[in-house]
Each structure stands twice: as structure tokens, then as C-alpha cells.
């Protein structure tokens, strides 16, 4: 690994100062699960890594019914799924944070890093998108807010300036009769990067049949995580059902622009998007109707036992 310096600012201002000074030669560092590997492999060559884990604003994790959910950019995944309130309110997000890497990775990896690493396959991003998360971004020129779906610009590229820091995510409180689900497809049952992923969010009318609103976002089938507004749009005002979901899934399949690589072929990814969108819509529907049960069990019965994680969240891959 090439030589690098390490700074551990205690405040947001101090951190902003460091980036203002160093610009592109400094890299923000939280969980390190991507960055350390990238530096080791020579893919990123910063002079300075700025450890953000001791900055209070980046460690906030709180929910208030009016304000919604605030997740500091440096909060590790395991703290999110262990948080009593979040699991019930943002199940789609919990699906994602509990399947990134293994336990060891979840204890380090952060949603901030997941987003800013800007991998098209990031599991954390589609659920943030469908939960309408906004990013609070801080730089030497002040603060701004950006919807999550506007952050990724391409593989490894974000809309953040070199001197800007992602501080936190802000998710509105979920309305009644809403639910979300994230599923990804991987060849093994853990530890893989998504071949394709889909997050679906549904909000129902009082009849629990008619869809008031919907959002669908995809992973690993385009240069960036993809919000397919047309697919969500085609669901609004309609009665939930298999045929309707199939229509949305077909739209997503068309919207996908996947590549072929060692993790999967383009045709396979398009096919999987359709399957995953159908499954996540079913899952989101069940959750919106108040059923927490997962629509698809993990084959092999390994999820039949008690809850897998201390946070009490059951997770599956598709």
C-alpha cells in the first residue's frame, strides 16, 4: 500500500477544513470496507484519509415521528438493524443493511460509504431511494440537500464535490399502510455482490387493495442505482395484484441497462430484475397490509429457525 496520512477530526468543521485544504487528495473514511481495499489495490491513491467516525453528526441515529429518521453517514449497518424502532418502520432498509457482507462487514460498513462508493450494485441505495431519503451534504461553501437518487453519477462517481462530506440521511416518517422490501439475487447465500437487486415501496389506500403510491429502484443493472419512476407510476391508483405487478416488473426490465461480467450476464440480470420486482412488490404489499412475513423463504430451510440476527431481523436473498 502506498504511504498515506490519517486524520481523525472530532468535529464537522474540523473535517470540512481538512477537505477544503486537501481537496481530491483527501478521502473520507468511515467503515473502510471499500476504501482500505481500494487503496491497497492501488485503485485509489489519496494522501490523506479522514476518519469521520468521531464526528457527532455523522453518528446520529434517531427517529421522531415528525422529523422522520436520521442516519448519520458513519453509522455502521449493524447499529441500524439493531435499532428497535427502525426495523418496523423501514423494513426495506433493514433488508439491505442486514445482507451487506457478513457480520464483520456490517459492524463496519456504513450507508454513507455504500452510497459514496457509488457501486451500481450497492445494496443500501435502492431502499434509501424508495424510502425517499435525502442526503445532507456539507462543504466549505455551506450545506445542501440532495435526494439519494441524484447522488450517484456513474460507477465510482458521485455528485459530491471533492471537498464535500455526506453528513446524514433523512428519511420521512413512513405513512400508514406503507411497506417496502429489498431483495437481491446472489449465487451464494451470503457474502456476494448483487447480480441484480430491487427495492419496492408501496403505500395503500384505506381499502388495503388500491395502491396510493409506489416507488421501485434497482441495483446492479445500470451504471448507477436506478429509480424507475415509470414503474412506480403505473401502479398508482390501481388494485394490487399479480398482473399489475408483472406490468411494473416488465417496465423495470426494459429500464435496466445491465452489462455482462463475472458476476452475471446482461440477459440474466434483465430476467432477474423482473423476478425480483415481482417478489419485492409482493413483499412490500404484505408489509403495507401489516404482515411482516416475508414472501419468499430462503430455500433450504435455513431461515425457518428463530431470528438470525440479534436485531431480530430476518433476511433473505432471493
Amino acid at each position: 500500500m502506498k504511504a498515506v496520512m490519517y486524520a481523525c477530526p472530532q468535529s464537522l468543521d474540523e473535517a470540512v477544513g481538512l477537505f477544503a485544504q486537501r481537496g481530491p487528495r483527501a478521502r473520507p473514511f468511515a467503515g473502510g470496507t471499500d476504501l482500505i481495499v481500494q487503496i491497497r489495490e492501488g485503485k485509489k491513491e489519496p494522501d490523506l484519509v479522514v476518519d469521520l467516525k468521531r464526528i457527532p453528526e455523522l453518528n446520529e441515529l434517531s427517529f421522531q415521528p415528525q422529523r422522520g429518521l436520521v442516519i448519520g453517514a458513519a453509522v455502521p449497518c449493524s447499529q441500524i438493524y439493531e435499532h428497535g424502532k427502525i426495523a418496523g418502520l423501514y423494513p426495506g432498509l433493514i433488508d439491505a443493511v442486514s445482507l451487506i457482507g457478513g457480520i464483520q462487514i456490517q459492524n463496519r460498513a456504513t450507508l454513507g460509504g455504500n452510497l459514496c462508493n457509488a457501486s451500481p450494485a450497492a445494496d443500501g441505495v435502492p431502499p434509501l431511494i424508495v424510502h425517499r431519503a435525502a442526503c445532507r451534504i456539507r462543504g466549505p461553501r455551506g450545506e445542501r440537500t440532495l435526494p439519494v437518487e441524484k447522488v450517484c453519477a456513474g460507477p465510482g462517481q458521485t455528485a459530491l464535490e471533492d471537498d464535500e462530506i455526506l453528513v446524514s440521511f433523512h428519511l420521512p416518517a413512513p405513512p400508514e399502510r406503507s411497506g417496502a422490501r429489498y431483495l437481491r439475487f446472489i449465487p451464494r447465500n451470503e457474502m456476494d455482490i448483487a447480480v441484480a437487486g430491487a427495492a419496492s415501496y408501496l403505500e395503500l389506500e384505506k381499502d388495503r387493495q388500491t395502491i396510493r403510491g409506489a416507488r421501485i429502484a434497482l441495483a446492479a443493472v445500470a451504471p448507477t442505482p436506478l429509480l424507475v419512476e415509470e414503474a412506480g407510476g403505473c401502479l398508482a391508483g390501481e388494485r394490487a395484484g399479480e398482473e399489475l405487478f408483472a406490468r411494473a416488473a416488465a417496465i423495470c426490465r426494459e429500464a435496466a441497462r445491465p452489462i455482462s461480467d463475472m458476476r452475471g450476464a446482461a440477459w440474466q440480470r434483465r430476467h432477474l430484475v423482473e423476478v425480483l420486482v415481482k417478489r419485492t412488490l409482493q413483499g412490500a404489499l404484505q408489509r403495507a397490509r401489516g404482515g411482516g412475513a416475508s414472501p419468499q423463504g430462503r430455500p433450504g430451510g435455513v431461515n425457518d429457525g428463530p431470528q438470525g440476527r440479534p436485531g431480530g431481523v430476518k433476511e433473505q436473498d432471493s
Binding site: M1, K2, A3, G42, F185, P187, R188, N189, E190, M191, D192, I193, V195, D261, M262, R263, G264, A265, A266, W267, Q268, H271, L272, V275, R298, P299, G300, G301, V302, S318
Partner: protein, 775 residues
Amino acid sequence: MATVKTKKTTKSKKASQIPVRYRVIGTRPIRHDGVDKVTGRAQYGADVQLAGLLHGGILRSPHAHARIRSIDTGKAAALPGVKAVITSADIGPVTDRVVDLGEGATRLQHLRDNILASGKALYQGHAVAAVAATSPHIAQEALRLIEVDYEVLPPVLDLREAMEAGAPLLHEDLHTDDLGTKSMQPSNIAKHLRFEKGDLEKGFKKADQIFEREFLTSMVHQGYIEPHNATAFWNADGRLAIWCSTQGGFTVRQQAAAILDLPVSSIKVIPMEIGGGFGGKIHVYLEPVAALLSKKSGKPVKLVMDRAEVFEATGPTSGSHIQVKIGARKDGRIVAAQAQLAYEAGAFPGSLVVCGMMCIFAPYDLEHQRIDGYDVLVTKPKTAPYRAPGATNAAFASETVLDEIAEWAGIDPLEIRRLNGAKEGTRRADGLVYPRIGFLETLGAARKHPHASAPLEGPNRGRGVASGFWFNVGLKSSVTAAVNSDGTVSLTEGTPDIGGTRTSVAMQLAEVLGLAAADVKPQVVDTDSVGYNDVTGGSRVTFATGLAAIEAARDIERQMAERAARLWGVPASKVKAAGGVYRHATDSKKKITFKELAARLDETGGPVVGKASLDTSASAGGGFGTHIVDVEVDPETGKVQILRYTAVQDVGKAIHPSYVEGQLQGGVAQGAGWALNEEYFYDDQGRLANASFLDYRMPTALDLPMIDTVLVEVPNPGHPFGVRGVGEVPIVPPPAALANAIYRAAGVRLRQLPMNPGRVLEAILTRDGKPPSKA
């Protein structure tokens, strides 16, 4: 044939002299090295620390195939902290010859060129230069400063294309050895071999149906968790010491001596604890390089590969193209079988296609057979053995065709195997005749196992069965065993312990001497401290080093009997030893235990040391396994989940049943990974795209169920306790068993490994008339 039988029977009688009710054999003592390994104290190769130690690094070719025009190491050498830089020029001139490495012969030039490329880089990751520096990070920085001028040449990645005339050549001087005749034109086909038995055409004429199928498998890696490492110190007196992670200290010594042109006696190899090998830690990669760096710097040098280097530059096992043609009668009897196996050798000749040829039809008694094998060069790493090398690819082909035949004939898959199964007296395609083997017994035990008849509940589920064979080897082992005054025995071995063999060998010595397993103190020592040993490989250590331990124990027993005789003032012939007690043949008052006697060695003539050096090649017993697996296939994604797995195997005699079970379970896990996800994924430029544990996708704890094992014990007549090698057989059946299960679950026959979700999905979509558009 009759003579063979008689001979074996004689041996069995000899074996029966040892009581069949054992006190130690078949029990499950705590392994001797266990505490060190659960507390983190065990010292593996990368843990070596020496005063003044330098850290090395290796520059590797980014190209799959390139001529090296020049290498400029000036800037790297000038970097502060860098103490030595070497290239192939530092190995010195070579007179090419064939070197015998004890367990295979190879051209010295090829051996050297794989260590550091001279002339051409033949795969991405091929070592080109090396540095030693005061820290691993400085070494890495220095590597970036080495300038190599490459002339990039076209890669040769597809086995079948490599075989075609006109394919780009890896070695311009290599001609095919085509059934003993040297080809006129140079070629990427190094060798064409054949086994033949009976009259194939005559056999096929008797068939009611002929099944012709074609199979492809990808290159896969052994995947041991510990990366290769080597630390070397070239002392001022010319003595070279090498600490490393290897399956055999003596083979490292032999290879290093050949490459460095040194007498073997000037090299001492200290085999450290080894973090997995599976055949992949027999070839040397780093040891001679560390030695040269040490020679140049005058300091000890440690080289440790990173995971990408392990994938890119150490021996995977061959990818293959296999064609099988089998003729069967309606009653399920196979009347003729033909196979053609082409195996990737990698960048230098020497795939283990011949093992695939030996194993492909080995479980069956077939009158008419012809098996052709081709050893084919491609611009990928030089292949190395991997657990039953060559046999898994072969069984994937033969055992899935057999499943088709069973279905066609309307016969149960276990029954068709019994109907055609090999037994004592059966002659294989390579001509050898089986002694007592236990294949049919594995089929019987499989049939009786509850798994075989358990109902399959739920849709998209299926059950598959497959069998497999590995011949197992004996080879050479030496041990010494010294009696301590407290009645214990210190046992010195030279076969590195990868899976508990210190204990399985010590138990055999303990059994003979009437001691407890814990009374034996086994250790694996360096090449200066014990007689010659072949590698820990070929499933041979518990068998062969065990035989040596038994011999050494008998040697001790003889000497101890003499000591007892001396104590009593009687002739040694009057002393009988049994179960650790030495008795006077007629005077029942005169008896003394081993422990009591051990305390009195000083007064009866001094220390007692037993020893044995054996070539046990003659009597290694072949091993057979039969596996049953249930899967569920997700028809929408093609993902296969293993629900239940049972591995039945003839193990001869399980010395330590827990570690035998462990061998079966581990083999199944590797076979399942090979079957479902593992593969070397190259881009079209010949760069390995998945050189990480993340993307190579070995099974995790979540991908496998508990793996049930059934240990069938048909004693090997060549071992007094009946031991057969057990380590390799269990990797052979899983891909075929899984393919057969997938067929029964999803209705699609997969003939390409891995059967990853994409392939299974494609097969399902194609079956449904909706083949994926790959545009």
C-alpha cells in the same frame, strides 16, 4: 487373476495377527496439535519472524501472453529500503533436462520458467521479477518502479481452440507426444495418451442404445485459506534454510535444488504448519525466489502471496472438455464405454489428464473400453493437483450419463451402479486388476440409509446419486520413535500434518505398543531431522506414514522385549509382548508393563529408538464413495440450494473416525463449490476477473447443510489395520450427484461446470421454449 487373489489372501492372514478389537484405533482422542491451533499459537509459514528479516514482493505479468523484451529494475533498486531485485537472469544459465521430483518428472526449464519468466510471460500473474525490502509496503512500491517492455501476444484461452492447428503457440519448441510418436509440427497439445481394453466396436454392437454426450468444466482452485509463503536464508556457509507452507518438505528441497542447481544436502526445509493444500502446495512458487533474494541481500527474506496472487499464479486444476460414449443394454448392463478427455495443463505441460483417464470408468466392470486423453497448453497458470486430480471432472461426465441410462432403462440409479459395479478381480481400463475393494458395499450402505428412501417434500426438489473412485497412493515414508523414560514415545515424522495426521499416525503406533494416543508425542520435523518422505498427498499419510509408524512400533517392541529379557536374565525369545505388557512365555510371575520398562532403559542398555523407512507403493487400497444429495431449484432464478447430503465411503478402517468424517465432509463441500459456483472467469484478454474470495464464491456455512457420513469399512488387505486413503474420494461424486439432482428437480441436464444460476436458468428457459436472447 487367480494369482493376484492368492497373493492378497496371504497378506490378509498376516494382517490378522493384530487383534481386531482395538484399544486406540477407532477412538476419537483430542489431536496432539489441537490446543496450539485453537489458541492461535500454532506457527504457520507467514508467522515466521527472524532477526533482520526482509519482506519480498513479486512483479507479475499483466498480460496473458507476451514476449518480455526487456526489464529495467534500476529505479526499483534505487528506492530507499530496497535490498535486492532479481529477474530470471539471476537464476543463472540452465542446461535443460528432465528432473525426477519423486512423484513426477518435469523439464527443468519449465520448472524454472514458472518461477520467474524468461523470454515469455505465459499467463496473467506469471512472475517476472522480485524485490526484497525492509517492509512489505516498500517492496510493493518498488515493484511499481520496475519497467518491463512487453510485446503482447494473443492469448490462448479456449481448450478446444488451443488444440487446433494454427492456434497461437505457447512453446514454439513443443511437439505433441502422440501415442509415442512426436508430431511434425509444434503444437499446444503436449501429449495424447490412451487406455484400451477389449474390443470397443464389438461392444457397441451389443448395445440397445448408445449415449453420446459432451461436457465442459472450468478451471478451479484448491482454495486453501492460507496463501503461499516462503522465508529463506542463504547463509554465508552456503547452506540454505527454507521455512514454508508445503505438503512436502522433501519435494521443496528437491525442486529448489534443481532450480538453484544445488545439492539437496545443502538445503534444509522447515515445513511450518500448513493452512490447507489439497494438492496445491506441492509445486514450489516462492521458495527459490526467496532464496535468490536472500543470496543477493545477505539477509533472510520472507515472501507471502496475497489472495489475488494465489488465484492468478498458483496451480488451479484443469478445466476440461470430455466426450463420453456409452452403449447399454435394455437391462441396464453397459456393454461398451468410450471417453475422450482434454485437460488444460496451463502454461506448461503436465495436466493430470491421465488420472481422469484412470478414474472415469473405474467404478465399473466394463469389458470394452477406450479412453483417450490430451494434455493441452493454454495461457493460464500451470495446473497443479487438486484432491483426486482429474477424477472429479471425469466423474461429472460418466456419472451423469449413467444417470441418463438408468432413467432410460427404468432402473434405480443405485441399482444400475450395483449391476455394473467393480469388485475384486475386475480389470480396469488401465489394465490393473482390483484387489479387495468396497464399491458394492458403499452402494448397499447408501441404499439402506434413510436418506435414500426419504420422501422429497415440496416442488422443485430432486434427489441425485453419484459414485466416485480414487486409486490412493502409498509411496515413501520414514519415521523415528524414541522411548522416553516416563513411558511415552516421541514420534518424528516428515509428512506435514494438514488434517490431523499427527494423531492418526500416532494412534497406530500407540495401538501396537499398547499405549494411549496421548502417550505418543508426534511432531513434523525438517528435512535434516528425519529420513526421506514423499508429500502429504494422494491420501497417503495415514496409510503410509501409519505403516511406517507401525513398523517403528514393532522395532521398539522387539527392543523392549530384549530389555525385559535382560532384566529377567532370560533369552529374548522367551519374552512375549501384547497390549503394552511384556511377559515371560512360561513364568507368569515375570511381567512388566511398557511404562515400567521404559523407566528402566538406563540399566538395560540405554535409549531405545525405533525407526522405519518404507516404500509402501505396493499396497495402497483404492477407495470408492457413493453420494446422495437433495436439492431445490428456484425455477425463476436458476439457483440451486442443497437441502440434504449423505456421503458413503469405503474407508478401509477409520483410525480416528472424526477426522475421517471431516475428510468426507470437506471433500463434499469442495465438490459442491466446484459444481455450483466456482470457476476461473477470464476476460477475452486472458485476465482473471474473479481473483478474490468475493467473486470466486467458495461455499460459506450458509450454503451447505449438515453433511451426513457413512463410513463403510472393507479393510485394505495391504495394511494391518485395513486403512485406505480417504481424503480424495469425496470430492469426486458431488458435481455429478448435484447434476443428477438438478435434473430430477428441474428437468434439465446440465453438462457444463459450474452449474451456476445463470446456466441453470438458461437451461430452464430453453427447455420452456424461451431461450434467453443474449444480444
